[in-house]
């Protein structure tokens, strides 16, 4: 009897615990989504402590009398909040509750859901779909989006045309065209605006350039990377000298995918652009020739080239990459020694950025209009952002002024000096960024871009690594995309 009881207990204990153990994984924690942290170059002065930009010469003279009392903002981090706090006239933070603020008598409610595990979009989608039936004060008023999935929201009835808010095309005339392309729906209607520009250039390792190419002058280096043929010739030279041309195959992906001549999806058929296939061929050749690796962006292996011993010749990226992400404050890093140079590279591209959209059904149209006008179209405010924050803003005159030296910035002693980047060895790269921002043409966006771009790079890694033939990798890509978007076909 006793033995029997014992064995039952034991088996029970076993069973119970094993199940708890093995089944406990039901609640998934997020995959490391560090591959897509919200890109946003931002202040390098602590804007929290500086006085809110009440001194800006424009006052928020919005009549909010017949507006809703709550402005609900949906976003995935606090970047936009800090931007509003520092630069939007008339915004007052709530000292007691960081998720609230005041504009006049309107309460601003910040709804922050992190990106991890697609939680931000899941949450936004569910709330948008209930927008019609939600009480006025619960309706979303503003939501933020990123370029990769912008069209999903822009090409839907849930985002409001800016024209309906009273924002005209000429109001936004100083913005870079590509930032408008991202948020223009399939009927040509503009649905959002961004305060930032994130045009990218090629950052090269000056030491490597001197050693292998014999020069580290940006114009001279540019001649070695001015088109893809030259770029790959240089890659071979670099490999002979022991340098990887780029850190991983994913570094060049954006440059190709921003320069396609067709959409990912034609009707409901998945279509791979020739330029994307060219990326596959070029990348495979580079990997096979030992000129680069296949690690993921943001992995430790990708970051190795931030340091001289990592032996990487160049990275493609926008200003925020070199300013904030390449370990410039770590002694011994290339950035710390001012060892990067900037060159235009083979083709223009952009990386990152956040767009402001107004949700259909909002009862705060006037306030939203004013926020968009102040933050994305007011040259004075945008200049403040540049000067205060070492940022690239979405305003041509402001940026061109900085590039040419007409607008000065303060050095550490408070003197007005022309902008230059220590990390880039004293180079002023802004002209290059401006040129890049103007040249980007994004005519071929689709609502499937995020899924297609992610799955394509993931699938092709198998091909580059030799784990699959190209056809197998392509099949995997089709399969993965159709899982995400069941309406599509191969």
């Amino acid at each position: 009897m006793k033995k029997k009881a014992i064995s039952i207990l034991l088996t029970a204990a076993m069973l119970g615990t094993m199940l708890t153990g093995c089944g406990g994984g039901g609640n998934t924690t997020a995959p490391d989504n560090a591959s897509t942290p919200a890109p946003a170059a931002d202040t390098n002065t602590n804007t929290d402590t500086s006085a809110p930009a009440a001194d800006t010469n424009t006052d928020a003279a919005v009549d909010t009398a017949d507006e809703g009392k709550v402005l609900n903002v949906y976003c995935w981090n606090d970047e936009f909040k800090r931007r509003v706090q520092a630069h939007y006239p008339g915004y007052e933070p709530d000292a007691a509750d960081a998720s609230k603020g005041l504009i006049g008598d309107i309460t601003v409610q910040w709804n922050i859901t992190p990106n991890d595990d697609n939680a931000y979009q899941n949450n936004l989608d569910e709330t948008l779909l209930k927008q019609d039936s939600a009480a006025a004060d619960d309706k979303i008023d503003i939501f933020l989006i990123e370029a990769d999935y912008a069209l999903k929201y822009v090409d839907s009835e849930y985002s409001m045309p800016l024209a309906d808010l009273g924002v005209t095309d000429s109001d936004l005339g100083d913005q870079y065209q590509y930032t408008k392309d991202v948020v223009t729906d399939s009927n040509g209607v503009l649905k959002g605006a961004s305060w930032q520009g994130c045009p990218g250039v090629l950052f090269y390792n000056r030491e490597a350039a001197k050693e292998v190419l014999g020069t580290d002058d940006p114009d001279e280096v540019q001649t070695y990377v001015s088109d893809w043929n030259k770029f790959y010739e240089t890659a071979a030279t670099m490999a002979d000298a022991g340098y990887d041309m780029v850190s991983t195959t994913n570094d060049t992906y954006r440059v190709y995918s921003n320069n396609v001549t067709s959409k990912w999806v034609d009707g409901t058929t998945i279509h791979i652009d020739d330029n994307i296939m060219k990326w596959v061929e070029d990348s495979k050749a580079m990997v096979d020739a030992g000129q680069t690796k296949t690690s993921d962006l943001w992995s430790d292996d990708w970051k190795r080239g931030f340091f001289p011993e990592g032996k990487v010749f160049c990275y493609f990226g926008p200003a925020w990459l070199v300013n904030f992400s390449m370990a410039a404050d770590e002694a011994g890093s290339i950035g710390n020694m001012g060892g990067w140079g900037a060159a235009t590279g083979p083709q223009g591209f952009f990386w990152g950025g956040t767009w402001i959209c107004a949700a259909t059904g909002t009862d705060n149209a006037a306030t939203i209009k004013d926020i968009i006008m102040q933050l994305t179209a007011n040259e004075d405010i945008m200049k403040d952002i540049v000067v205060d924050d070492d940022d690239f803003v979405n305003n041509k005159p402001a940026m061109e002024g900085m590039a040419s030296g007409a607008t000065m910035v303060k050095d550490e002693n408070g003197n007005d000096v022309e902008y230059s980047s220590k990390i880039l060895g004293g180079q002023n790269p802004l002209g290059m960024y401006c040129e890049g921002a103007g040249s980007i043409d994004l005519a071929y966006l689709s609502i499937y871009d995020q899924g297609c771009n992610e799955e394509f790079q993931a699938a092709m890694k198998n091909y580059f690594d030799g784990n699959a033939t190209m056809d197998e990798a392509l099949d995997l890509f089709y399969k993965a995309v159709i899982e995400k978007y069941p309406e599509l076909t191969k």
Partner: protein, 287 residues
Amino acid sequence: MNKKEKGLSVGARRAIAYVVLVFISILCLFWFYVLFINASRSNAELARGFTPIPSTNLLTNWINLSSGRAATVLPIWYGLFNSFLIAALSALFCTYFSTMTAYAIHVYDFKLRKFMFTFILMIMMIPTQVTALGFLQLIGKMKLEDSFIPLIVPSIAAPVTFFYMKQYMESALPLSLVEAARIDGSGEFRTFNSIVLPLMKPAIAVQAIFTFVTSWNNYFTPALIIKSDKKKTLPILIAQLRSTDWLNFDMGQVYMMIAFSILPVIVVYLVLSKFIVQGVAMGSVKG
């Protein structure tokens, strides 16, 4: 493995046991060491890859996390409180009501008893993901978003915990005890609370820690249900720290935040481990 020990003296076997145990302990503790090292390094240092030597930024990371800019957006103390509240209540509800359910099946001989037991056994095996979507829809319809209720109350129906409790009762709770209580005039509810629950302590401790840890580390459901800052739990705050914008992106803080999140579970675990390690064994001896 044991074959090699043939004929070995107790001393030799003991030595082997110690070597293996020490090795396995290192394997288990190593990750805490790596976490500690990473929490002590700055974002830029972390970009260099792993080193086995801690750096000097432990305090800096902690200050940045707890009182720097992050603190104004990352209410970590609220997070700690919320996580603790949800995990503790889940553990309490889960163990109390699972014990009650098990008690019902174990002690009372009602008509649907067998059916209920089989039924609960069956649903025990349904993976959580299977019903996740339906669950979220339901929460939306019930207007329970941004509330702790959908994170706590469902733990009342925990088939796995129920099954463990039921089997434990088979050997640790003789029905004669319940009979005796009845003869003494104790009501059914009182018998359960004052006689059965104390007897079940070891089993409750074991399941309490499991429920607590699972709830504490849960990100998926809270991330979709909780919206306001002051209600967020620690895993959401970690995710938020990881999706922060470039200027503020700081892996040092992320690791510090993870360490900060793990510490309380370790404390709770150590407190309860006495029951866990001994509890199961004690129960078997009792049977």
